[in-house]
Symmetry: C2
């Protein structure tokens, strides 16, 4: 039997030691390291694909679904995208050492907050092996060490990618242990790692509810969840209906498998007779299955009935729940009751209701007259993101490299004491 | 046997419901409520003191230490200070709804971050009953509901204070459940509360290492620790020695029982022969016991030897560990090895070393030429603080009302979709 506690401690200690060195690296060294990693991924494409082919073969033999095998498969195009992603992160401004402002206290001391790396970040994820390179790039850029623990179905691919990143990083001056791919996929080892709060500073679980719940229950390390999105658009009585139609189609159809795609459409009763037949026709033409409340079904013949389960559902698919509401208050009540505080939008030209919706709906992003699909680090101008946090602390919404740092107070004095 | 899970759920649900209402209250209602609570505490001073006298009597009978009984005792002066504290918090700017900046994306959408309350905050603390009013005031000002679970030795005082706050709050328009004092001090109930991450958003444990460790291990809710401070001052070879002397005396003597008091003094070898005899004499005159390394003892006769344990010690008392170091690097190594990343300072007139120390020492506050005792929300200009966070995420260092809020993204668009 493997001694998971001892192995976990070895891994975490090595990462902690690397994190101390990473925190002192110049912006230039980190950027160059990421660029070299990008080049090395392309150079090693064949080796990576060979390892990936083994993972795919095992997955097929085990009868995994087509969608899962698609997520698992690394084509030359996907490897190229990993490299491009690393180069984009390399080009972002380095956040470490930034001081947003300093203020002067009555006793003359100057106080400010300086961004510093978080330390050691553990990422626990599922099948997509490209996360290995993306997450490593973001964590390293922010001056952290990273421990990557992917799913067992992608383990050969992850190890291959990890080796390429480690070798290229070492040549560019990154410390040993800056990128660690956990090669043992046993649950016992993960659980041992999750207790090492004296070495590991943050855990980011990315995956299904079961994974996130298990991590939350085991971890003594702070966890930032990237959880599900049951996203709503409320079409108000004062909406520009042509705009609402374009935004709703985009929010549902542009990429339905993402956490910020619309799952439930709420329509004010006064515009429902005009709006619903038109939008349903357009969505159905795009292949969307509609499940409606009674009033929706009365307005649009042939729509399936929505059940209580549909209001809770994160379909991640071409399915949409539709409900007619009497007032904006009823729409907000629905969002509070069934939503996941991920991304919610109002379509309206009414100033008062737009502002009230923004104030009253408490989601990671609240949008007026814009598609829920825009809740994204790149779209918001944060640069690349490691995901969309559904937690409330430290990071909420798209989580970029700034959120992979922390801030310490610095004080520049000339002899101040506490009176 | 009490059904702790059911009781915990009742408490947490009530708080969650109150938190939703709190988030919508105007700044005026919250400020008025805090002012009324302050007045009510003074009006009810006799009732509170009567309840407190029972706690004190039980504590004395149980043979608790004098220091603990002092912390437990509520004099009219302390009740007055609680009221003053509430009035000060009432007067702070309301953080809810603040948008620091909005930026415009190439597609014309405006993106910003709006401060909103965290939700439900659980405070787990030990003997000081004045924490009940202080913590409640800060949490409410930031628009949160608060669950207060103090120590069993102060339970009668806490319940009495809680009732006064609840009644005054209700009259001013706060929802039921905005302030909940947990009346059952059973460990089982706390542990049940710590699992309710679907209702409670943040846990702040304030107390000894045992309390904090127990909370970290049980909680599935994010925890912000207020842990120990092993604080250092490094007196560099380029220090202004008169300034260093004044700062070191202040950092050790002004209030030795606090987490930001200096516990270890590190002195560069080139100034040690001049500096150490003078500072040791001054500190000894102030009643400080010195425990020194060999080189310290060679320079100042009669100093006790420091052991390995002394470098780790948070004395919270008039005791100081002293070590002579060969270089600034050795001082930083000492701080990395033995420090608690709480508060550390350098005394130097050398620009290069001042900047290197600020960059390389990773503590919640790093100071140049200023007393460690200044690491405090009031001193830094944040207004009142709920404590000094030793965690790295969300809040680090003094934690004011801003850190009792979170930020959601808001987007003001005119029909933007994801291309």
């Amino acid at each position: 039997m493997t001694d998971f506690a001892a192995l976990a401690e070895t891994i975490a200690k090595q990462a902690k030691s690397a994190a101390r060195a990473m925190a002192q690296l110049s912006a230039g060294v980190k950027a160059t390291a990421l660029e070299r990693m990008a080049a090395a991924l392309v150079d090693a494409a064949e080796t990576i694909q060979a390892a990936n082919a083994q993972d795919v073969a095992v997955a097929k033999k085990a009868g995994l679904s087509g969608a899962l095998i698609d997520r698992l498969t690394l084509t030359p195009k996907r490897i190229g995208e990993m490299a491009t992603g690393l180069r984009e992160v390399a080009a972002l401004p380095d956040p470490v050492g930034e001081i947003e402002r300093m203020w002067v206290r009555p006793n003359g001391m100057r106080v400010g907050r300086m961004r510093v790396p978080l330390g050691v970040i553990g990422i626990i994820y599922e099948s997509r092996p490209n996360v290995t390179a993306e997450a490593a790039g973001l964590c390293l850029k922010a001056g952290n060490a990273v421990i990557l623990r992917g799913g067992s179905e992608a383990i050969r691919s992850n190890i291959a990618i990890g080796r390429v990143l480690q070798e290229a990083g070492a040549k560019a001056g990154l410390p040993d242990g800056a990128v660690i791919v956990v090669e043992q996929t046993d649950r016992g080892l993960v659980n041992a790692l999750l207790k090492l709060d004296r070495y590991i500073d943050l855990i980011i679980p990315r995956g299904g509810e079961g994974l996130i719940r298990a991590v939350l229950e085991q971890s003594t390390i702070p966890v930032i969840k990237h959880d599900k999105g049951v996203c709503h658009i409320y079409v108000d009585e004062a909406a520009d209906l042509a705009m609402a139609e374009a935004v709703c189609v985009n929010a549902k159809v542009q990429r339905p498998g993402t956490c910020n795609a619309m799952e439930t459409l709420l329509v004010h009763q006064s515009v429902a007779p005009t709006f619903l037949p038109a939008i349903v026709a357009r969505l159905q033409k795009a292949g969307v299955e509609i499940r409606g409340c009674e009033r929706t079904r009365a307005l649009v013949p042939g729509v399936k009935p929505a059940t209580e389960e549909d209001w809770h559902a994160e379909y991640l698919d071409l399915i949409l729940a539709v409900r007619v509401v009497e007032t904006m208050d009823a729409a907000i009540d629905h969002i509070v009751t069934y939503g996941s505080q991920h991304t919610d939008a109002i379509m309206t030209q009414d100033y008062q209701r737009a502002m009230a919706f923004v104030r009253r709906v408490d989601s990671s992003a609240v949008l007026v007259n814009a598609s829920t699909r825009l809740n994204d680090g790149g779209q918001f101008g944060l640069g690349a993101e490691i995901g969309i946090s559904t937690g409330r602390l430290h990071a909420r919404g798209p989580m970029g490299i700034d959120e992979l740092t922390t801030k310490k107070f610095i004080v520049l004095g000339d002899g101040q004491i506490r009176e």
